[in-house]
Symmetry: C2
Subunit: 216 residues, 2 copies
DNA sequence: TAGATTGTTAATCGATTAACAATC
DNA sequence: TAGATTGTTAATCGATTAACAATC
């Protein structure tokens, strides 16, 4: 009955397994061993087996893993079979990019609304979902059972809006604003800090130059 | 002379330190101890000191760290003072969002070109940078000393385009396509897999529901 | 000087890898 | 059955935290 906590390191790898299994499935591959998969994914076979065994024994000795079965099971673990109502706050390029993002539906996220402060967007619809003005936000969240908010707004507004969403029932935030939200710990936050990703890229380029300058 | 390798865990945290120090700087804070910073960032003071000491002793006993100095030094470590020519391939919403991204310039990345297959975009300019057609790509990369390519194109095209870029001199890829590129190991790749981020969010929501269903 | 806080070593913790018995 | 490959335990490796002497 006592569930042991799955480490974040494992969870971070899970979607990648799912992606590879999806590709194998598309290519008509029926079964795969941890060893084969390890070569494709460039991780150790040991890690694959350890990771999967956190959730159950999905394989069979002497055979390996059935691709379709494992794909489905990981999908369940990731919760992709459940449906969640989602809204996007911030209808700029990034917000629109996400609104047009086909994966939303595939992953069980149902886009219910898009919000912005800019009145010139008031007549715009994206994939049939109209852009609404921010003053409708709170009521909309309450009345439409919104579980997830996507923040594609400047960091100066993000904290306030996030608190607002949570106060009206939102349980999870996909945060693209360059700031930490510091929400109550029962609220789930997944950060996408693009500026930090860019800086890691920058660091790695610099380090590469550094390492190779003596050989010049 | 022998540089010990800095762990990826440290590098992943570095931009976040930089962000917090930037905020402190904006707020006119002159100095900060690892202990104060640890409370704000919700990491241990020990970790902050360990991380920073990978790169040098930036603090002073009994005083702490000078915010401005530390900010500048981390900026140097991250390579933000260097300039790199960058192009975006894929002028959809996401590509346009990134092209409009003010941080590029601030981080030393100079947007030189945007490319797309869609001829209706041929007359469009974003922040003064015109969208070019893909058949100009190779020549453009060679002639304009392009160091970094941003891939905001579908995964079906990403591998081919990435190889193309690398063959024409590009040294680093910021990859938003949902696929692993498998480039030569001297090419730096920073992946932003939004679908994986979304699945982690989905997982955490499911797990939360799981944990709380008995208390219903 | 006394107090504060770093830089750094040592201890602990957790994650990864290796190994192999179980078993299909 | 023999060969293959898992599930899982044990060994190793690396990262985090604790502790404290050095020193501003």
């Amino acid at each position: 009955m006592e569930e042991r906590e799955i480490s974040q390191a494992v969870i971070r790898r899970l979607p990648r397994y799912y992606r590879y299994l999806g590709e194998l499935l598309e290519n008509g591959v029926e079964r795969i061993s941890s060893n084969d998969l390890s070569k494709r994914m460039k991780v150790t076979a040991s890690q694959i087996r350890q990771d999967l065994n956190n959730f159950g024994g999905f394989g069979q000795q002497g055979y390996g893993y059935n691709v379709k079965y494992l794909y489905t099971e990981i999908g369940k673990i990731l919760g992709l079979e459940q449906h969640h109502n989602i809204i996007i706050i911030g209808a700029g390029n990034l917000g629109q990019a996400l609104a047009n993002y086909a994966d939303f539906e595939k992953r069980g996220f149902i886009l219910k609304g898009i919000f912005d402060v800019n009145p010139t967007l008031a007549d715009v619809s994206i994939r049939g979902v109209p852009v609404r003005m921010m003053d409708e936000l709170e009521q909309f969240v309450r009345e439409n059972d919104i579980e997830i908010g996507v923040l594609t707004i400047p960091k100066t507004k993000a904290v306030e809006v996030a608190n607002n969403l949570v106060n009206n029932g939102v349980r999870a935030i996909w945060n693209f604003a360059h700031i930490d939200l510091n929400l109550p710990e029962n609220v789930i936050v997944e950060n996408v800090h693009l500026s930090e990703s860019l800086m890691r890229l920058s660091y790695n380029i610099s380090r590469y130059h550094e390492e190779h300058k003596e050989s010049k």
